[in-house]
């Protein structure tokens, strides 16, 4: 009991003293996950839009496919990517295994279906008249799409935050294709998972606190957005 209290105290000290190693791990997590979400968002939202407004065969099947991808375990994505990127794999020549790029790619795969499914729901809830009004007032297609996105911006932002929450807290992909290399691919979750097993409790607890704080923040933002959505609807 006393030991736990002591390590928690150490953890808080690490956090508050601005421990360089700890904060570089935090920054790495944010950097990787922000890149992944920023690259994925435009593509995923366009796919979500096409699934809503497009009139092509197989829309339902594609949608069902994305929905089923939501529950794929992260280690399976990690495994898949590992096989692709390993030296003998089809993309082995790219030398991406155990790099941040590999982590970014893995997290992109993870958040893509989340953004498509939630983005689809947000756009689905939008009024058909948005599209029609914009078109009849002479807007070109791309501007009409932006108008629709703007009208459902709270729902889309909620989708992005949910996707971000999912990838910054995942372990499986970062562990398998990142490799937890200190200063290079060690992020919050791999540090907690792997360093704790080596007895680095204080750092693990400190990082856990950061992750928890982030989770609370995201949840608060999401419920705030939920409120805004209902106000504007």
């Amino acid at each position: 009991m006393n030991g736990l209290l002591l390590t928690t105290q150490q953890a808080l000290q690490l956090l508050l003293s601005g421990d360089a190693e700890l904060w570089s791990i935090v920054m790495l997590s944010f950097s990787v996950s922000l890149k992944a979400i920023l690259i994925t968002t435009p593509f995923a939202l366009l796919v979500a839009f096409a699934l809503n407004h497009g009139n092509f065969p197989g829309r339902r099947i594609i949608l069902a496919f994305f929905n089923s991808l939501l529950s794929v375990p992260t280690v399976v994505i990690g495994l898949f990517l590992y096989v692709m990127l390993t030296r003998q794999g089809p993309f082995g020549d790219l030398r991406l295994l155990f790099t941040q790029s590999a982590m970014v790619i893995g997290q992109m795969i993870l958040c893509f279906p989340v953004l498509v499914a939630l983005g689809y729901a947000a756009i689905q809830a939008s009024d058909r008249r948005v599209w029609e009004t914009s078109r009849t007032l002479g807007a070109p297609t791309w501007f009409t799409i932006l108008t629709v996105f703007y009208e459902v911006r709270f729902g889309l932002l909620a989708a992005v935050l949910t996707g971000f929450g999912r990838i910054i807290s995942e372990v499986g992909i970062s562990m398998m294709v990142g490799g937890n290399i200190m200063g290079y691919t060690r992020n919050i979750t791999t540090a907690i998972a792997l360093e704790t097993s080596k007895g680095e409790f204080a750092q693990g607890i400190a990082l856990g606190i950061v992750l928890l704080a982030l989770a609370f923040l995201l949840t608060a933002l999401l419920s705030y957005l939920q409120g805004s959505k209902e106000l504007t609807a």
Partner: protein
């Protein structure tokens, strides 16, 4: 008699097994107002949306500038001239002014001309005092006027109004009527659908009745002489 601006020929449209429009013809003349009556569900909205290029017909041809083309081919070049107004308008998030200005960015006007145009249009519809108000907080009748103004500012050749007065009180109705008369005398071709045609006697030049997928010209009723 003026030349028609656009002639729509042989419009056919079904939803699944349900034939809504069967070979409908419609000619649109400048400075003329067509009143389109018909029961709920008879296909008035569908017809207007096809004319506006918002709904795809199964078959249709359009004649304009002396040439006849398929709907698909022609609608691209004429949709800019035709504006459809919903029964309940959708106002974008933003204030009245930004709604009115929405379509101007797709015209060749520069920034300064746009601003002047918006100010004039707001005066025209007596909305100047409301310019900075969030548009979707306004009452139904005022929203309808914002939507009118947002369309009018683009000076379309044809304006299609779907049940424009169904959600208005007496006062907004009179104001809207007044605005419509001015649009018509400015040379616009106007099509109005309504299942209460009496509202538009005095504005309409001709009345068509839509039933069983066919358009039939009908007498503008006796009270045509009242304003």
């Amino acid at each position: 008699m003026n030349e028609p601006l656009f002639i729509f020929r042989g419009i056919e449209k079904s939803f699944a097994e349900n034939e809504i429009l069967r070979k409908v013809d419609l000619s649109l003349y400048p400075a003329k107002c067509i009143l389109l009556s018909g029961k709920n569900g008879s296909g008035k909205t569908t017809l207007l949306k096809i004319v506006a290029g918002l709904e795809k017909p199964d078959v249709a041809e359009i004649e304009y500038a002396g040439k006849t083309n398929s709907w698909k081919k022609a609608i691209r070049s004429i949709r800019k001239e035709i504006i459809y107004l919903h029964q309940q308008p959708f106002l974008f998030s933003g204030n009245v002014e930004s709604n009115v200005a929405y379509g101007l960015r797709f015209t060749s006007l520069n920034r300064k001309q746009c601003r002047e145009s918006v100010i004039k249009a707001l005066e025209w519809s007596r909305l100047s005092d409301l310019a900075k108000i969030q548009a979707n907080t306004l009452s139904g009748g005022v929203q309808q006027r914002v939507a009118f103004t947002r369309a009018w500012i683009l000076k379309p050749k044809v304006l299609l109004l779907d049940e424009p007065m169904s959600n208005m009180d007496q006062e907004s109705r009179e104001q809207a009527f007044f605005l419509l008369c001015r649009m018509k005398s400015a040379g616009m071709s106007i099509v109005i659908t309504s299942h209460v045609p009496q509202y538009f006697y005095g504005l309409a030049d001709v009345q068509f009745h839509l039933s069983n997928g066919k358009l039939v010209q009908s007498e503008l009723s006796a009270c045509n002489d009242s304003p």
